[in-house]
Amino acid sequence: MNLCLVLKLVWQQLRHEWLAAACLCIAMAAALVPVLMILGLKEGTVQTLRQRLAADPANLEIRMPISTHISSQEVESLRALPGVGFCIPATRILATSAHLVTDSGSEEVNLIPTGAGDPLLARHSLPVPRAGEIVLGSAIAEKLSPEVGGEIRLRRGRMEGGRAQYTEVPCRVVGILPDSSGVGAQVFVPLSLVIAVEEYAEGARQSLSAEGAQGLTPPAPVYHGMWLNKPGLKDSTPDYVWDRACPFSEQRPATEDEIRRGMASQEAILFFNSAQHKAVDKLRRAYQLAKQNRAEFRLWNPPVSATRQTSDKTETFTIHCIPEPLNLRAAAPALQIRCGNPADAGFHTLLLAGGKGSMRVEAVADTSLPPGEWTASASVLGVLHGICQRGLFWSEEAGGLTQPHRAFSRIRLYARGLDDVEPLVQHITARGYHAEGNIAGIRRVQELNAQLEILFTLLAVICVTGAAISLALNLFNGVLKRRRDYAILATLGFSRATLTCFPICESLLLTLLSIGLSFFLFHGMAHAISVLFAAEIETGENLCFLSPAHHALVLGCGIAIGLLAAVCAAVNVLRTQPSTAIREM
């Protein structure tokens, strides 16, 4: 079969009857262009709505409004979820407040941790701040009038031992978010600085360091209970007064062992919480109540198990509590413990509570203690409990404590696309967190898309049917008109198979020409719509457009319809007897 010859003859045939071919192409395009326009407008409208939704990172954000406890490993596992675009942990909201100070004044701000891929910064093409750098929200920038590239001081205060303290760190402004970002009194800084601010606020750090490489100081002591040596005090105090004063819910008398060790007197009562500890500030009212009733007040902590590694052995022992009076203005306690065996005196790095933390302490020999006995004041034990609770470990390199497995209270999480928001919210909720996203807004667009899809499908079916019938009938008519031509070709020795290729090639050529003309007209109209509605649309948006996939789909459908019509016409060619057709004049 000489397909090139067939194509050439079909082309000559169409060129010879160009007017009829043009009429057919225009008729086909007239049916197809409205389909393309409706599809283009539907795609363009839905795409514009989606673009606008997706352009605002707030719609991609998955909010976790309730503070929770998220480990570093959990953060990593959330970050690895499919559909997550950006994920960074954040500290407690109270610990993120700080002040920005310039020569012209100071403003309170909230610190937002950021990192590579932050959609809020990416949307406005702002750089991601590195250590020592900061990006400001519009409201702050308006009040402090800093310049990009200029320096600003970040200040954080705290109460330490009843005294106000603050520390500052210089930051270079690398970007200012515009008003449209919706970011007001917030600044974007590296996660390390946000963590450092929280650690400073908690007293775990002496100053802010943008790098966050310095070792942490031991946390403030916490207390699990208090001794009162007046047994009837609770009963003689009105309940509402007692409930306000005493932060502990459980009580018990002193044990014989405690009496023997001199930790409590015979009549002393221990008020305690077995699972909860309190900072010293929470004990102020209880202390005042005891003082008013001339009761002796002693702080208490449960014993801590400690393991120390010597050159030849590993020794585990228990450090018992020596209750001590409350001193609200006391500085951080010196980390000293007492040992009954003088040979144990010296500095030791102790692994605490079976590995929950570790600390370097100084052991001082106390001959009043039996050998092998270890004790520490309630405040020192309180520090050790705090270390275990926060998972701090002593690091010789940092010269202080480090927190290898830090837990976070919140997380900033953004979906990669609009369609990822709902599955991510469901996934995160299934993990036991409270998560929210702009699911309703996204659903509205999806529903609009679905409704437009139905409308489009109905209209497309009508138009495509019209186009298909038009093509099929025209081809049929063409074949009937050319029956004699085909018969002559048969007398010249063209095979039946080759002859059936004529309507197929003709149909394909006409279909391609029609679709080409339709695309040309469609793009012209789409451009006109863009120009007419230029005021309504933003840069990069397109009210009427078709993706390459849609172009391919239309082309594929057109060719399929053309082939179907051609096959019907080809059957007619096969049925025609050349001997009768050549004499039809």
Binding site: N2, A490, G493, R496, Q577
Partner: protein, 246 residues
């Protein structure tokens, strides 16, 4: 029945071909007891309308098949015959391309091709170069019309183009169906001369179906006519060889 002995120059031989058409009121049967065509010979088949001339030509051109036949062979080369009755469609198409030329009453030209393209088409179909058609077109005095389309030509010019196309691929046999039927006497004479001269020059056998016996009889090597017999509603038309003289 005894048949004529075949000579070395015979290029087409058919025996006992039969074709039957059943109509609503009448039926028609065409019988061809014997037909032999020699290379370079002019053979005319004379008959009035409806006697089966075109049916016979279509069978010989393998456009339609006989209902029954003893033999129908076309010489492929001096020592090989082609059995047209047992030919596959592909073989029949190949034979039509290479061995047969066809001339229809009004030329049978393709309206969308120029004169030159019409004449060159059989050569293109055989995969032969187009340039061999120049001399042929000059001989048939249509070289000046090469860029014209059939619709722009007179009937006589169209017939000359049809003759050129029938001879373009170098066939052994040309089948012509009323080649002068639509022409005035003068044009008919010119076309006849051109057809017969060109065929003779190329040693091509010509089989002409015509109702104009006088125009071709003098030039014919063999003349055939039809015996018509009516039995009830069945008309039987039998091919019969006639004498060349009037």
């Amino acid at each position: 029945m005894s048949y004529e002995a075949l000579s070395a120059s015979t290029v087409l031989t058919a025996r006992e071909l039969s074709r039957f058409y059943a109509g609503s009121e009448r039926s028609f049967r065409l019988l061809v007891p014997e037909l032999n065509v020699d290379a370079g010979s002019v053979n005319i088949i004379i008959g009035r309308s409806g006697c089966g001339k075109s049916t016979l030509l279509d069978m010989l051109g393998m456009i339609s098949r006989p209902d029954s036949a003893q033999s129908y062979r076309i010489r492929r080369n001096p020592c090989q015959w082609f059995d047209a009755l047992r030919a596959t469609p592909h073989e029949a198409e190949h034979l039509r391309r290479t061995q047969l030329g066809y001339i229809l009453q009004t030329g049978g030209l393709l309206p969308f091709l120029s004169v030159e393209d019409n004449v060159a088409l059989p050569r293109q179909l055989c995969g032969s170069p187009r340039d061999g058609i120049g001399k042929l077109m000059e001989r048939l005095e249509i070289a000046g019309l090469s860029r014209q389309y059939p619709a722009q030509l007179s009937t006589g010019q169209r017939q000359r183009v049809a003759i050129a196309r029938a001879l373009a691929a170098g066939p052994r046999i040309v089948l012509a169906d009323e080649p002068t039927g639509a022409l005035d006497p003068e044009s008919a004479r010119i076309v006849r001369e051109l057809l017969l001269e060109t065929a003779r020059e190329r040693n091509v056998a010509v089989l002409i179906v015509t109702h104009d016996a006088e125009l071709f009889r003098t030039a014919a090597d063999r003349v055939y006519g039809f015996d018509i017999r009516v039995e009830g509603t069945c008309v039987t038309s039998t091919l019969r060889r006639e004498s060349n003289t009037i």
